[in-house]
Amino acid sequence: MGEKGFLQFSFAWLFAIVVGAFILFLAIFFVSKLIGQGQAETDAKTGKEIGILLNPLETGFESAKTLSLTMPVETRIYNKCDNHTGNFGKQLIQISQKSFNRWTETDIDISFINKYLFSEGYVEGKKFNIFSKPFEFPFKVSDLIYITPSSKNYCFVGAPTEIEEEITSLGQQNLFIKNCPEESVKICFGGANSCDIKVDYEGGFVQKNSKKLYFYGKALMYAAIFSDSETYECQLKRLMQRTEQLAILYDDKANFVSRYGCDSNLGLLQLSNSADSFKDSGGLNLIFSEVEQIKMQHDGASCKLW
């Protein structure tokens, strides 16, 4: 009789323990899933919000626009670029935030077709300094957006006066032209030594990590300075894709307005083809002469297209 009582007690406990453990496991599993999903949701929401907040950086006739972005927690903004999708490629951003002293893991990409972000592979911090500049080639192609963490200082050494004036007028607290903090990224114009980044303003290239990034105009120069080579080349390819579409659009417009007697023969289709066959920044000088010629012809035309 005693033995049977013992067996009965043991079965009930065993049963309760097994089922209880199963329920607890399920509860913990779903709660952890929900927490993970909540974090991913917050990351995605933050990414989308950042993208939306970049809308006011679209310039009209301004030469540059600035914005400061302060996040509630330490944040990493991953800058990804895809130049293979559709006619314009895609700007992708991924957000990771610090939660309980750990970076959240997310694989949710927030994509924008009409934005061009220039930064390192990822920027980290609580406060970010952002500015934008229009890229003209020879018509306005887009506004280029540069993101730097406010904790990272950049020191411009020996910059031409126009660059110095522009940096001063931007008013960004992490960009210096004199009295540079010790641990700042040194950007040298001309032949200074011990520089992190060298800029040949006349030659039209930026040298960083033994790689040459060619540019056309100040907007692309800043892009080459503030971004890594992969991001720069990819975004430049996307900009050329948009140039190609805009050249077609302006050529269509030229044909359309010719009915009013507005004639213009600018060779825009040739520019479109050149932009289409663009590979990397080394090929910019091939298009450069075409762009300059179109610009000159358009400036002298009575009927302007842009």
Binding site: K45, I52, G60, F139, L246, L249, Y250
Partner: protein, 200 residues
């Protein structure tokens, strides 16, 4: 003597029967108690499972509705910020094509030849429309095509129709026009409308 013997045997048989009965009664009670406990536990388990499922469903429904609201809020925010800056986009802006540079000015000669298919999704999920406010063509809304332009009122930048909520901004709609004196610039009053759908 024989009677005694019979009585003794009867008693023995009765005792044996009683013994058997005594043994049977506790064994039946034991089985019944165990079954009852398992049944109780099964009911408890079902109740606990239903409770967790209901709580889970409530949490999911709450989270999902919150997510939908967030998505709509973000769409609204995007539309509001987009509409203020969209006219400066190179695909729409006048630039310096009509004399000096103008902000919030749309070059309709450019927009009318814009290939909508190439620019599908370029400005996100928003539907974009440009409406001429003044002067109206024949007092009614005529959708612009290449064959009726500029005698029309609505230019659709994206292929979708407007539905849901929208935000708008006043803009200048400029185009070239030929006259006896040559080619002139003509600007009219218009409205740029960015439409977004609510998921809430």
């Amino acid at each position: 003597m024989e009677k005694h013997k019979e009585y003794f045997l009867l008693c023995k048989k009765y005792k044996a029967q009683l013994k058997n009965k005594k043994l049977e009664i506790p064994s039946f009670q034991l089985q019944k108690n165990g079954q009852l406990k398992i049944q109780q536990m099964a009911f408890m388990l079902i109740a606990v499972t239903i409770f967790f499922v209901l709580v889970g469903m409530f949490v999911l429904a709450f989270k999902f509705s919150d997510l939908k609201k967030t998505a709509t809020d973000l769409e609204e925010k995007n539309a509001m910020l987009l509409v203020t800056k969209l006219a400066n986009s190179p695909e729409l802006s006048c630039g310096e094509a009509f004399g000096t540079g103008k902000t919030n000015c749309i070059d309709t000669d450019k927009v009318i030849v814009l290939n909508k298919k190439d620019y599908e999704g370029f400005w996100g999920n928003a539907n974009i429309e440009i409406r001429k406010i003044y002067p109206k063509t024949n007092g009614e809304d005529v959708v612009c095509e290449l064959n009726n332009y500029p005698n029309c009122d609505i230019i659709k930048v994206s292929s979708g129709d407007l539905s849901g909520f929208d935000t708008s901004n006043f803009v200048a709609l400029c185009r070239k026009e030929s006259s006896d004196s040559g080619v002139n610039d003509k600007c009219e009053l218009g409205k740029l409308i960015v439409n977004y759908k609510s998921t809430w």
